[in-house]
Assembly symmetry: C2
Homo-oligomer: 337 residues x 2
């Protein structure tokens, strides 16, 4: 059973655990600062298939397989799959998960999907509706640029505020079975629209949503930034990070000491030509699995607020002159031992 606290949060009385996780990434991610931490690298962006979308499905399939394997469970033990990606009608997910034959809830929170999936899976387990559930998300540089901006073959220029979509997938087993990391609570985001209309500046579109979730989380749990070892956003990048810190300072919270952004960590921007940083559903997912969870497991960090961020961008709405609203999903992770 959970306990609703404040305006937007749950604090679980019996927190579910992150029993196991996986991170599958591509060649570009291998070359970045976290490259050696990922479980597996698939160097071929099509993963042996004949297009990027099928390739992305293979990344997700492998991530889920590996997470289940690492947990010691069998796929028959997984009650639900909460999964999503950036593509229209979630095709990377549909074709990536269908062979598992596990009941599926398709989710869409743009690049915040890792947070949305873990949130919903944690509710399912804490509510007694599943012993074990999987949350998975994927993204892919090739399929995302084709979907949202320009096919890679165009060779278009990318402004400094643009981010680089991470090719990869992360999967997480949320479970009743005890592990070193518990999901102590969640803070679920609202859609925030500051009227941003630049599809090459997603950080600015997402920062207000991240700021709202972090602000409300601190209010709901009655805590200060210094009560956290890290407050980690998904893919704001360097441009979005500044906006986030400024917005929270205006509301009397200074998170500059605690803040980390997966999009900034995953690439070496100067060497890798990734401009403002990494992005995509996989950005926060693979960073959580490969970099954040090990820090909590080993006791270096005891409490982390993980806030994947999403820009609700679509070419249809964008070409019709609409703005790009943002959303963020907060997950409170704590060392449980």
């Amino acid at each position: 059973m959970g306990e609703m606290i404040g305006k937007q949060s749950i604090q679980y009385e019996h927190p579910p655990y992150l029993l196991a996780s996986s991170s599958i990434a591509g060649q570009k991610e291998k070359e970045g600062p976290l490259g050696k931490l990922f479980d597996e690298i698939i160097e071929d962006p099509m993963a042996g298939e004949d297009n990027w979308e099928k390739g992305e499905s293979e990344f997700m399939k492998r991530a889920i397989e590996l997470a289940i394997q690492k947990s010691g469970l069998k796929k028959e033990n997984i009650r639900y799959l909460f999964a999503g990606d950036l593509l229209g009608q979630l095709i990377a997910t549909s074709f990536g998960v269908k062979d598992f034959e596990i009941p599926v809830f398709g989710i869409y929170g743009a690049c915040s999907s890792a947070g949305e999936g873990i949130s919903l899976a944690s509710m399912a387990v804490a509510g007694g509706f599943a012993d074990h559930a999987v949350a998975a998300s994927s993204s892919h540089f090739g399929s995302a640029e084709k979907q949202f901006r320009f096919p890679l073959e165009y060779g278009n220029q990318r402004p400094l505020s643009s981010t680089w979509t991470v090719t990869g997938s992360g999967a997480f087993i949320i479970s009743k079975r005890k592990s070193e990391v518990q999901i102590s609570g969640i803070t679920t985001g609202k859609i925030m629209d500051y009227g941003i209309k630049d599809s090459m500046n997603m950080g600015a579109a997402m920062a207000p949503a991240a700021a709202q979730v972090i602000y409300q989380h601190l209010q709901d749990f009655n805590r200060k930034p210094e009560d956290y070892d890290r407050i980690i956003t998904g893919d704001l990048g360097t441009v979005g990070q500044k906006i986030l810190i400024d917005l929270l300072k205006e509301n009397d919270y200074d998170i500059s000491e605690q803040h980390m952004d997966c999009g900034i960590e995953i690439y070496s921007a100067e060497d890798q030509d990734t401009n403002a940083g990494g992005s995509g559903c996989a950005c926060s997912a693979v960073t959580l699995s490969a970099f954040i969870l090990p820090k909590i497991k080993c006791g270096e960090w005891k409490r982390v607020l993980f806030v994947p961020t999403g820009a609700l961008l679509s070419t249809v709405s964008f070409n019709e002159g609409q703005s790009v609203p943002g959303i963020a999903h907060g997950v409170l992770l704590e060392r449980s031992i």
Copy 2:
């Protein structure tokens, strides 16, 4: 707290209730057999906006407003919104719900979204994570044909197996507060892929998924078709209905007496040129609100298995030669008084 039963189902120990609901539909739906039952008709398919997508957002916005109003609650009482539509990146939803400022979980289950949203909202309420939550979904003939097949201006021909996307939106308040209709349980679907590659025959793509959910529901609850007043699928249409009934007969269940399909009910196919029937996320949603729930409330039906069905169609995967997999989400509705 819930009780996991069988392989894919939950039977709630303390079932949440459907406290209120709404149905907003368009001109074509007004002219159909259920026309007089809808709460409101918006005759302008753009709902006063300048394109179909914005129009669809207005349908969803109005549906949620009205459902909250009918429930006697205020928007501040709604803890979560579970919402989705058919369009890439759920733009009808994002722009339709953002002004409510309610924490949002975006969902994608194609035309099964009404079932997915009610399922997740029922878990949230039964688990103690929300007192009241909204599940909403929308679809739109103009925006869907543009997204998936041909813009309406092309005037392309439509084969007899094709369906007509319902323009409208339905919203549901799932609540701890007692009403005449309870959500006694859910049976969550797997993705089923029978290799259908005809985007004009969605009924055939979805029927196997519906059959699997209905079969497993009957197994999990240890019941027979005759224990139900109705077993109601979302939008299989006449072609999908035959396949569904045949598939279940092969597994020793004859549901021909109990089966009803929202897509068959919503239009008068011969008069309205809708071929195999209606479809879209709104098809099952507005039919549930306007036609099914009143039958349960008045006691005519005491137990209904509601199974919205979705075809996971995308132009990208379709043009790359992939099949159209299906999914279905079962919700067990019972008269509670």
